[in-house]
Amino acid sequence: MQEIMQYIPGNGIFHRIHPITKLLFTVIIVILAVMTSDLLLLGLLLVVVFLSAWAGGLGRGLTEQIPLLLILGVMLVLFTVLTMQGGEVLFTLIPAGIPFIGGGLPVTTGALLFGTILSLRFAVMLFAFQLLVVSTKPGELVTTLRQLKMPIDYTLMFLIALRFIPTLQREGIRISEAQLARGYAPGDGLMGKVRGLKPVILPLILNSLGKADTLGLTIDMRGYRRGKAETGSISVGALDGLVILAALALAAVVVASSMMLL
């Protein structure tokens, strides 16, 4: 089973640079993705993130997420098309020939464009964040966040979220196996599937609540919230400089071309 958002050991560029550099790289990419609404520039950002992943030997982990992103992208486009109109009408989802409702639900160029931009933005942000997470040991990430004076509670929350993703994935599988063994068959159709989730989701939530109680007590009893401030200095190397320079150059390109477009 593929675990999502988990550290993958390796020795590529991204593994060798300091977490703070990666954090900065991710933040720059995310800011750029939010600021620009130009398809070409968003495409460029996506390509840059992918090339970086490849250079760092992490391409496979990212490509595995493509099917999920495609589904999300299609849904985003669909939602914008249904809820927003702008520009020219390309065609209508309900053919004009049908009485009363014919010609309803027009698909417009504006909505299509906006939906695509949203999907691309989402993809860039997700991939950039994933690049950070899969190439950084969570412990190092936490140390860095502490050095940046992030409050201990937030740092722990971030760490726990990452840590429990695969555990919940596995627990979900175990529960669905247990229900399969009781002859459980998820219903047909969308509603059947949704109703069929109950025997799996309910134990998953109830068990997680029990875990959360123990988890909280453990954190307190091990004194993790004493929040001993990290004092170690941040030492960065030439490679870190290079990555930051590249990210800044990219920012310059995006900003400059946005200005030209204006």
């Binding site: 990452l162 247990a178 009781r182 002859g183 068959a185 134990p203 029990g210 007590l217 004194g223």
Partner: protein, 465 residues
């Protein structure tokens, strides 16, 4: 020394106290066992001793507890207490917060005030002590239940507190690992630490511990040396007599050369296995030896990579789990993995509806597992022992010929374990074939017709008993 003086506790929004009038003193440098049926108040007592009840929960308490010469209420909070008391909870998974075992233990060491260099040396020692050095870089989700328990214990030992409380922290370990842990705890007690552990296998822990208390219905029902308490418990139970071996009936499960691979790992490696009608087979073996992987084949959850397997005369290849699970019921280790309805009746009805069976038998099945009259109770309000029996009832109601149980007695005391065994014997008399995985060798030899030991995916010894 820890002193408990007429202590009682009632959880918020509950009518009845969970603990009442508990008085006890635990000398420094001693090791005490707490035992008793599930739901008796053992966990609450641990939480009282660790300060959780006084400083985190908001129930009402009576009496007092003193720890290291100070009243529990004099401590500022759990934070201050954590320098003196540490606790290992029964859910190991929820106590592994970091993403590798090494980091988990390391963080505890650094929090206990050691320098980075000292902590690194100590890390190596602790991992070696618990025989988990090879797990240092592993993520929690890749560990078995027993490995998680060892890792959680390592992180707690790393804190080096004067008082250490373990609440069923060894329930998923095999016999050898349990004995390793007990001997480590004994050494710590000899070094002057105070150790309190909730344990069902008191006979195994007896030679390490100094004293034992039996908790029943929120009070101390007996106390003394572990041997004394063990005798009191046994005297209250009917004697365990070896049941006569059943003559073999028709074969319900037959496998030849069964292999199951996870990637390169041969988790099950060439197993020949036959289960007859009316037979009880126990499978024992260390954590990770392939027991659970093997039994998941018996209802079609897994398909063999190589070899043949027939269930009720049907070859398993070509039949889906929905067909095979009509012949084999599987009770998972943790009943909470399957319980989701809000009443006991609905919980049993779920399985019956799935296979299109009528619901007239629910009352009868509940009586069979000793849960008569609990039809309208919420399964989550039952004790662990009762939930385990409900999980069994859910499967028994479906009436499959084969019943497979993965660790049916985890978290249960001897009386509750014997209750489960009695049910299994009745089922076997009715003609069901039964396979149970267990870490309890005593139960296996007393109640099974055949005990099979698994190691590295193979059966290494078969003893007809």
């Amino acid at each position: 020394m820890i002193g408990i003086d007429h202590f009682g506790y009632t959880y918020r929004n509950r009518d009845h106290p969970v603990l009442s009038d508990i008085s006890l003193s635990i000398p420094t440098g001693s090791m005490m066992i707490i035992t008793g049926p599930s739901g008796a108040g053992k966990t609450t007592l641990c939480r009282a001793l660790s300060g959780i009840l006084s400083h985190v929960y908001t129930g009402t308490s009576t009496g007092s507890i003193t720890i290291a010469g100070r009243d529990m209420m004099e401590y500022e909070g759990i934070e201050e207490l954590s320098h003196t008391v540490s606790m290992v909870f029964d859910d190991a998974d929820a106590q592994l917060i970091f993403t590798t075992v090494g980091e988990e233990v390391m963080t505890s060491l650094e929090n206990s005030g050691l320098s980075k260099k000292e902590a690194e040396a100590e890390l190596v020692k602790i991992l070696e002590l618990l025989d988990i050095s090879h797990l240092a870089d592993r993520a929690p989700y890749t560990l078995s239940g027993g490995q998680k328990q060892k890792a959680a214990l390592a992180a707690t030992l790393a804190l080096g507190t004067e008082v250490l409380i373990l609440d069923e922290a060894t329930s998923e370990l095999d016999e050898e690992a349990r004995n390793l842990i007990f001997s480590i705890l004994r050494t710590l007690a000899d070094e002057g630490k105070t150790i309190i552990l909730v344990e069902h296998m008191i006979d195994e822990a007896a030679r390490y511990a100094d004293s034992c208390i039996l908790v029943k219905d929120g009070s101390i029902a007996a106390s003394g040396t572990p041997e004394d308490v063990s005798r009191i418990i046994r005297d209250a139970l009917p004697p365990i007599t070896k049941r006569p071996r059943k003559a073999g009936g028709a074969a319900l499960i037959e496998s030849e050369g069964l292999v199951h691979c996870y990637g390169d790992l041969r988790a099950v490696d060439g197993v020949d296995f036959t289960l007859h009608k009316g037979e009880i087979i126990a499978i024992v073996g260390e954590n990770g030896s392939g027991k659970t992987t093997l039994v998941k084949h018996f209802n079609g959850l897994l398909k063999p990579t190589e070899g043949t397997l027939a269930i009720a005369g049907m070859p398993c290849s070509g039949h889906s789990i929905s067909v095979l699970s009509r012949h084999t019921g599987l009770v998972f280790q943790n009943p909470d993995t399957m319980l989701f309805e809000d009443t006991v009746r609905k919980e049993i009805a779920f399985g019956l509806k799935n296979i299109g069976k009528d619901q007239n038998s629910i009352g009868e099945v509940l009586a069979e597992v000793g849960l008569a009259g609990k039809e309208e109770t919420n399964p989550r309000h039952l004790s662990r022992g009762e939930r385990q029996r409900l999980a069994l009832a859910c499967v028994v109601a479906m009436g499959q010929e084969v019943i497979v149980l993965d660790e049916p007695t985890t978290g249960l005391d001897l009386a509750e374990s014997l209750q489960i065994m009695e049910i299994l014997m009745r089922l076997s008399d009715e003609g069901h074939g039964i396979v149970m995985i267990t870490h309890n060798p005593g139960l296996a030899t007393a109640f099974a017709d055949l005990v099979l030991k698994m190691s590295n995916g193979k059966f290494i010894a078969a003893a007809e008993v």
